[in-house]
């Protein structure tokens, strides 16, 4: 049973902001609810005021903006994102990750913004968003500001959000060249499970980008691995070596889902498989352009 709280449903962003400022730490933003309701039932989170932002109409928008980015409003359900025009073709790494979050029932309620704002180290949508250089759009007292997803999540369940601030959308840059990449998730069962380790390896704008989840306090980019791979041809030897360097980018722990050692091994595997996939993808592209 949840503790008592007041439920408020403002219809404007400013209204929501004012309520958050007024109630400060007593208030929680309520969006898809799939995480907050569980936490309230378990009495881990006990807000006095729950502010449902789903009444704010423009947070439900998904659109391509000025040919620059795909903007996914904070209240857009996970299940709606892959259905929007060309998203699955353009951002297969993201839609594959989304497909791996919870169940159909969950994806009909949960949002990508919620997945990121919860700031779990194993958030499935985080690693594709990291390699895509997605930006979090934040509404606050100075109006709107944009922050890279890598700077937004600061720790386990911690973000840079301050009192009164609300994430309105996530913006993903449009890349002219097709992205070749792979989202991978290791979990005990194929569906409706949390990641033991997850990651995205992709070739974007001519460079290889790597991000891993559940191996550090936050989802992380494999900075050293990426630096090593810059300008290199993906030979077997380079791929093997990249698989070793990734362990210096991460700091996994042992917990209920896996040991530290297992996670290190899986991280190597995710990187190596991802790079092989990119190498094969490049070959296919080459063949296609010659044909």
């Amino acid at each position: 049973m949840m503790k008592e709280f007041d439920y408020l449903k403002p219809s404007t962003l400013n209204g929501a902001h004012n309520l958050l400022v007024k109630h400060k730490r007593e208030a929680y933003i309520f969006n898809g609810g799939t995480d907050l309701i569980v936490r309230m039932r378990e009495e881990i989170t006990n807000p006095n005021v729950v502010i449902d932002i789903k009444g704010i109409e423009n947070l439900h928008e998904i659109s391509y903006k000025n040919k620059e980015c795909l903007s996914v409003g904070a209240c857009v359900k996970l299940s709606e994102i892959p259905k929007y025009k060309d998203v699955t073709e353009k951002y297969a790494i993201l839609t594959e990750a989304i497909h791996n979050i919870g169940s159909i029932q969950l994806r009909n309620r949960a949002t990508m913004t919620g997945n990121i704002c919860n700031a779990s180290p194993l958030a499935d949508s985080a690693t594709p968003l990291l390699v895509l250089d997605a930006k979090i759009v934040i509404y606050g007292k100075e109006g709107l500001k944009r922050v890279l997803v890598k700077d937004f999540i600061t720790g386990v369940r911690k973000t840079i959000l301050e009192t009164g601030e609300i994430v309105t959308a996530i913006e993903i840059p449009i890349y002219e060249k097709p992205i070749i990449g792979l989202f991978q998730k290791m979990s005990r069962r194929k569906m409706v499970d949390l990641s033991t380790v997850c990651g995205t390896v992709a070739r974007i704008n001519g460079e290889i980008r790597v991000a891993l989840g559940a191996v550090s306090p936050t989802p992380v980019r494999g900075v050293k691995t990426e630096a090593f791979l810059r300008g290199k041809v993906l030979t077997d030897e380079v791929i093997r070596e990249a698989g070793e360097i990734i362990v210096t980018d991460i700091s996994p722990i042992s917990d209920i889902r896996a040991s530290k050692e297992y996670r290190l091994d899986m991280a190597k595997l995710i990187v190596k498989r991802g790079l092989v996939h990119i190498r094969e993808g490049q070959l296919n592209w080459g063949e296609q352009s010659e044909a």
Binding site: E4, D6, G33, G102, S103, I104, Q105, R109
Partner: protein, 172 residues
């Protein structure tokens, strides 16, 4: 601070409903305790088992992860809304014909998930069926008969659509 009850107006199994409810009550609890619709079950209470699956604006959701106040202006269909008196939905008939249940605890959620699938895709493949019910746990049947029950409805739809297209010479 007083915790007020909210008035909500919604459609429940095709009928208009008005209700007053506290914010800290889930939609599942309200449906079961205030409306006596006990088909949807509370299994895990955390969105993992799917026993509480209902249709919320025609989408399958876990009723345990929805606040009752959110039902305001929504259209809700529970397992009880699928049958018309003694007349069962084709999925319910098929679950019986295929013996697709044992203890029955998961069945309402399972059928609602299948219904949501058939609403968006009237003749799904076996893989699409398996995916559609992947958020519904069954601890008795091993899923085989459940998939068969849904498949047989899908197959019937395919048969109908072939007839409808008047494709001669194609027999099942």
């Amino acid at each position: 601070m007083s915790k007020v009850k909210h008035r909500i107006n919604f459609t429940l199994n095709y009928e208009e409903a008005e209700h007053y409810i506290e914010p800290n009550v889930t939609l599942l609890t309200m449906l079961r305790e205030d409306f006596d619709l006990t088909g949807a079950k509370e299994g895990c209470g955390a969105g993992e088992c799917g026993a509480c699956t209902i249709l919320f604006n025609n989408k399958a959701v876990n009723a345990c992860l929805v606040l009752a106040v959110e039902a305001d202006r929504a259209e809700i269909i529970t397992i009880e809304g699928l049958s018309n008196g003694q007349e069962l939905d084709e999925l319910q008939e098929s679950f019986i014909d295929n013996a697709a249940l044992q203890c029955g605890y998961c069945t309402p959620g399972m059928i609602i998930s299948a219904k949501a699938l058939l609403n968006r895709n009237s003749s799904p493949t076996e893989n699409e069926i398996k995916e559609a019910i992947s958020g519904n746990l069954c601890r008795c049947t091993g899923y085989k008969k459940i998939v068969e029950a849904i498949s047989s409805v899908a197959k019937k739809h395919r048969g109908n659509s072939v007839e409808g297209a008047e494709k001669g010479g194609e027999e099942e």
